[in-house]
């Protein structure tokens, strides 16, 4: 069994329902994401269009993150999922450097690397990943790519010639496919990021991986004494970040 994902970009309407469902299901902290939908505008007014690309871990068959992880915190499950054991992770960020898709983040609460696991905990219980359930247009298709009768396999066969993966030149063999994708949606260097023209210009991201309020000394003291900010929730973290911005 090899579990894979396919997103039909012709069906995706950019509602971000999958993003929210993922955040809620996996309690993904602020400033981090496991799945996000990127918006790209193409063309000049009035000849314009907007495309949406859901981006998540590609669960590569030849995963660079798994290879570089020094302690096997990143490992393959029998069903092909690239899973992560946060109890073993040492926080070296090697996986973040290795992932060609920028899909791994340093969780500011656990201070370990984390990423999309295709909702491995739900799959174990016979459920679909939360993003699949939330998608109103069924643009997210999930299943066993080795089973010829599965919906994802049939979808891939029906759309032969129009199925792509991100960065095939990296030889990572992603188990995450796109139908209806193009250079603009799948190649990060094909489009511009013009300062001041973003749809949501005030989105803030951390200027370094992990918790900005955790010093180097905290890395040593925290496991013994705990952290004064242990009770931080999303709101207080946001308040602290915005104070820092000012």
């Amino acid at each position: 069994m090899k579990l894979g994902f396919l997103v039909d970009l012709n069906l995706c309407m950019g509602c971000k329902g999958c993003e929210i469902a993922c955040k809620v299901e996996n309690e993904v902290p602020l400033s981090s994401w496991r799945l996000r939908v990127k918006y790209i505008d193409i063309g000049s007014f009035p000849d314009t269009s907007r495309s949406f690309t859901p981006l998540r871990c590609n669960h590569c068959e030849n995963a660079p993150c798994e290879r570089i992880c020094p302690v096997s915190a990143l490992h393959y499950l029998d069903n092909g999922i690239v899973n992560i054991d946060s109890e073993r992770c040492i926080g070296c960020a090697g996986c973040m450097m290795a992932c060609p898709y920028g899909a791994i983040y340093m969780d500011p609460e656990s201070n370990t690397a984390d990423k999309c696991t295709y909702c491995a905990h739900r799959i174990e219980g016979g459920l679909m990943p939360s993003c699949v359930v939330a998608c109103p247009t069924e643009a997210n298709i999930f299943g066993d790519v080795e089973d010829e009768t599965s919906q994802i396999s049939r979808y891939i066969m029906e759309h032969q010639g129009n199925v792509q993966v991100r960065k095939p030149e990296k030889h990572t063999n992603p188990l995450h496919y796109y139908v209806g994708g193009g250079n603009n949606t799948l190649n990060p260097l094909a489009h511009e990021r013009i300062e001041g023209y973003g749809l949501f210009n005030n989105i803030t991201t951390l200027d370094h991986p992990g918790n900005p309020n955790r010093s180097i000394l905290d890395r040593f003291l925290e496991p013994i004494f705990g952290h004064p900010n242990d009770n931080l929730d999303n709101k207080s973290l946001l308040d602290m970040n915005s104070k820092g911005d000012k």
């Binding site: 994401w33 990127k38 000049s44 926080g91």
Partner: protein, 314 residues
């Protein structure tokens, strides 16, 4: 919304992207590589000097070489440790090693290397300073094992090569950053070790024989020249993958990385090369070249480490 009409959308524009940003490996990893180059470089250059010259020509080399290496390696390991988000779990590298990872292999090799260097340092230190803690039982025991130095030394020199070069494999395993080409990085790591290894001895070897100093100047000149040529080749002639060109565009287009890169080239490569080839009999100038080598190498390593991390990956 006047500004919207001014967009010339000949290219697609990202209007919403919340990619994970920021430098993942920053100054701590730069210092890690910089200190490791010193730790291995003094052993490699020291071995060359011991092979070429008599011990009397460089009387302090035997104990200073492992001492400098020991200090530098501890700086290297210190920054490796504090860069981890879970430093106490460093032990997992030894209890749950994953051998496909060059981080694991490197950590093991560096640890073994440090043990060998420590043996050399303690035996040579207590032998050289024979009056220090003369009656101490531990000191006596260490002095009695002085022969270990010569036995351990060949293995230490052999290990210095992979220890100095394994970071290049980590960079190569960082599949997202195409600027780091393993072949070039392996040689750059080795040349960096020879640069700062020779620079270290230029600083401390004031009373050493002239022939030794000439050799040190030659090692410094050759290593900075080769390293500089490699950087220039990558800087000006990298007509390779789009990602490499986009990465280099960050330096070419000016800004802080442009300044950092050329500061590194000037201090670490151009100045030491000129001094080492034209004024190598001038002690003060050679020491100046050694100092600029240390500073320049840090800038070069820092720039080369950080710029590929600025590329959007998704």
């Amino acid at each position: 919304m006047d500004h919207v009409s001014t967009i010339e959308a000949t290219k697609a524009i990202v209007t919403m992207d919340v990619a994970h940003t920021g430098i993942i490996w920053g100054w701590m990893i730069t210092l890690n590589m910089w200190a490791k180059s010193i730790g291995t470089g003094v052993i490699l250059v020291g071995a060359f000097l011991l092979y070429r010259h008599k011990h009397e020509d460089m009387p302090s080399l035997r104990w200073l070489m492992p001492l400098i290496s020991f200090i530098a390696l501890n700086v290297f390991l210190f920054f490796t440790l504090i860069d981890l988000h879970q430093p106490f779990r460093m032990i997992h590298i030894f209890t749950h090693p994953h051998w496909t990872s060059s981080i694991t292999v490197g950590a093991w090799l560096a640890s073994i290397f440090l043990v060998l260097v420590s043996i050399m340092m303690f035996t040579s230190f207590f032998t050289h300073f024979s009056e220090f803690r003369k009656n101490c039982a531990v000191a006596k025991a260490v002095r009695s094992k002085d022969g270990l130095y010569e036995k351990v030394f060949p293995f230490t020199v052999f290990l210095a090569f992979p220890v100095t070069m394994y970071t290049a494999i980590i960079m190569s395993q960082s599949a997202a950053r195409e600027l780091w080409v393993p072949g070039a990085e392996l040689i750059q790591m080795l040349l960096a070790a020879f640069m700062v290894g020779s620079a270290s001895f230029i600083l401390i070897g004031g009373k050493w024989a002239e022939a030794v100093k000439k050799d040190l100047a030659m090692i410094l000149a050759i290593s900075v020249l080769f390293s500089f040529i490699m950087y220039m080749g990558e800087y000006f002639f990298s007509y390779k993958a789009a990602e490499v060109e986009a990465t280099l565009a960050y330096i070419h287009s000016g800004g802080p990385y442009f300044l950092d890169f050329w500061t590194g080239m000037l201090l670490g490569y151009i100045i030491p090369f000129i001094i080492a080839t034209t004024m190598n009999d001038n002690r003060t100038m050679m020491k100046f070249a050694a100092v600029t080598t240390f500073i320049g190498l840090y800038f070069a390593k820092s720039t080369w480490l950080e710029i590929p991390q600025l590329l959007p990956l998704s």
